[in-house]
Symmetry: C2
Subunit: 141 residues, 2 copies
DNA sequence: TTTTTTAATGAGACATTGTATCATTTCGTT
DNA sequence: AACGAAATGATACAATGTCTCATTAAAAAA
């Protein structure tokens, strides 16, 4: 019985973490959604797929994936629950409208050079990044 | 009786918001601390200065300052309360160690050009940004 | 200065989100 | 199959954030 393993699942195992049902389900939910999800949304979706999976395990998976730079929590507007966003290829970028909270995604960040520079200068090993611009979108400005 | 107004307080008023005791106290706490603060830390500090100020007003101030790109909530590790960080000059940058959660600040981002480009391309008006790199710090790598 | 208007406040009950504990299960290995 | 470690799920709990509404105070107007 050979299961299909997504590259991220593969990576989980290679890093020494067990491939459990809870983790794979949360990962699956995040991957198939793609965009920004709140913890509550993830909990709901996971529950639809397998209601046996416990609340705590979902949060534990979100923690783990964050540590692995698979996802990253961020805020759209303040003081609400964070949204978790996938970091495919290790990075993600968006503009958040501070008036209507619309999120505009964009692709190119040209940060590879800065990343390399920082790694050398500070002797760190970087695995991902999140770049957020704030301001007014076309409708609000 | 002419009060000293910090540039940010000035800006608050210019934008049409009232300069209330609650807002000025929260702003003062954030400015004098400088670094990353959780909502709980802000609540505590505000309480020390003026215990009359209510919990809700502190959260309301944090919301407002976020909308104005004076501060920005961000996550050090996942699933904990966010930390609010000042965006002096409209931006802030750091590296977060995904193992020990240490935060390393750095200055240069070279994002002015990208900012201008995005403003033109997408017809938005940008007021600030936050750039976060994730990875292992020198001690952890 | 006094009045007026209206945004903002504070109290505190409430709702939501995240965490801790621990007995039990599951994964990966031997 | 048997083992040990890692992870789980249930659930009670703690922490964080929100809502309502009567009252207050800031800024503008008179
Ligand atoms: Zn995004
Ligand atoms: Zn990037
Ligand atoms: Zn570290
Ligand atoms: Zn910058």
């Amino acid at each position: 019985m050979s299961e299909e393993l997504s590259p991220r699942a593969q990576r989980l195992r290679d890093t020494g973490y067990k491939l459990t049902n809870a983790r794979l389900t949360v990962l699956n939910v995040l991957e198939s959604h793609g965009g920004h999800m709140t913890s509550t949304q993830v909990l709901d979706e996971v529950d639809k797929i397998d209601s046996e999976i416990g609340r705590a395990s979902v949060f534990r998976a979100l923690d783990l994936f964050t540590r692995l730079s698979i996802i990253r929590p961020t805020y759209i507007d303040s003081s609400t629950t964070p949204t978790y966003v996938m970091l495919p290829g290790g990075h993600h970028h968006h503009i958040i409208c501070t008036n209507c909270n619309r999120v505009i995604e964009f692709e190119d960040c040209h940060l590879g050079q800065l990343e390399t520079e920082l790694e050398r200068q500070l002797n760190v090993r970087l695995t991902g990044h999140l770049l957020e611009f704030y301001g007014l979108c076309d409708r609000c400005s």
